[in-house]
Symmetry: C2
Subunit: 192 residues, 2 copies
C-alpha cells in the first residue's frame, strides 16, 4: 500500500546522530539536516516529526546502537586488567577524536538537560546504565575475592562513572594520551 520510502530509517538516523553530535541541538538547523540526511524536508517531518523529536530519536539510537564503548573488556578478564583495558580504550578513543568531541550523551546533557526533561531523562538512564555495569562487575569481583571491603561496591561504581564523565571534559582541554592515562592510573589505583 502506498509508495515505499526511498531511504533506510536507521541509516538516516545515523547521519542525524553525526550532525547533532558535531553541532549540538541549537547549532544544527533543519537545512543542515536536510542536506546531511539526504532526504527531502517533508519526508523528514513525516518520518521523524519535528526537530526536537528527531533529536530525541537520534539520542535513543546513539545510546542503543552507536555507543561503541567496549564494555565487554570488563567481563573477559580479571577486574583490574579489565578496568584498565576499558579505561585505556576509552582514553585512546578520546585522544583520537580530531576535534575533542566527547560522548554524545555528555554533549546532550551539557546543552539540553537543564531545559529539556526528556534529554535529562536519557542522560540519567545513561548514567544509571554505566553505574549498573560497574556495579555488576564489582560485585562479581568481590565474590571472587578480587577486591577487599574498604569501599561499598555501589560507591565504587559511582566513583568510576564520575571519573569517566570527568575524562570527557578533561579531554577537551588536554587531548593527550599520556596526560589522560596518568589520570586513569591514579583513578584505578584505588582498587590496590
Amino acid at each position: 500500500m502506498g509508495r515505499p520510502k526511498e531511504f533506510e530509517r536507521d541509516a538516516v538516523l545515523d547521519r542525524a546522530i553525526e550532525v547533532f553530535w558535531d553541532r549540538g541541538y541549537d547549532g544544527t538547523s533543519m537545512a543542515d539536516l536536510v542536506e546531511a540526511l539526504g532526504i527531502g524536508r517533508q519526508s523528514l517531518y513525516d518520518t521523524f516529526g519535528d526537530k526536537r523529536s528527531l533529536y530525541l530519536l537520534a539520542l535513543d539510537r546513539y545510546r542503543s546502537e552507536r555507543n561503541t564503548t567496549p564494555w565487554h573488556l570488563l567481563d573477559e578478564q580479571p577486574l583490574r586488567p579489565g578496568l584498565r583495558a576499558l579505561f585505556t580504550a576509552i582514553v585512546d578513543w578520546m585522544a583520537d577524536e580530531p576535534d575533542g568531541r566527547s560522548c554524545m550523551m555528555v554533549c546532550a546533557a551539557a546543552e539540553r538537560a537543564p531545559h529539556d526533561r526528556e534529554v535529562e531523562r536519557r542522560f540519567c538512564a545513561n548514567t544509571e546504565q554505566m553505574e549498573r555495569r560497574f556495579t555488576a562487575r564489582l560485585e562479581r569481583a568481590r565474590a571472587d575475592g578480587e577486591i577487599g571491603g574498604q569501599h561499598d561496591v555501589t560507591a565504587l561504581a559511582r566513583y568510576l562513572t564520575n571519573a569517566l564523565y570527568g575524562l570527557n571534559l578533561t579531554a577537551k582541554a588536554r587531548r593527550d594520551r599520556a596526560y589522560l592515562h596518568q589520570i586513569v592510573d591514579v583513578t584505578l589505583s584505588i582498587l590496590g
Copy 2:
C-alpha cells in the same frame, strides 16, 4: 568627552554571564541579550562588539570575578580537611542549583570548545589553573609530610581536577547531596 554611558560595563557583563550561562551560546539571541542587559542594541555592539566577542568577554569575567569556588578553604587548614571542605562546598552548591546548572566553563567547553579555538583556550586555562591550585597545595602537603610519595603530585592534581569536572556532569543526572558526597568520599580516600 562626549555623552557618558548610562550603564556600568561590569554590571551589564554580569547579566550577560547569567544569560549565556543559562541558555548557552547558540541558545541566546541578541534580542534576549538586549532585553536582559537592559541596554540598547547599538550600545551593546559599540561596547562589547558582536555576539561572539561579548560571549568571550562574559567567559573572561566569569573566570576572573564570578567563579566563586572557595579555593581559600584549601589553604586555611591541613590538606585532607581542606580538600574535604572544598569538595563539600562545591557539591553543596551543585545540589542547590535549581536546574542542575554546572560551572559556566564546563557549559562553554561542551558547547563551543570543539568549534571555537578561543573558547577552547579559555577552558584549557581554566583547567590549568585548577591543576596549579591543587599542585601548589599538594606540594606544600608533601613538604609538611602530610602525604606519602606513592603518587606524583602533578598526577594527583590532575586526578582531582578530573573528579571535579566529573561531578559537574554527574550532578546533572543526580542532583542529590548524599549521592555526590559518596563520590567525593571515594575520590578523596586515595589520600589515605
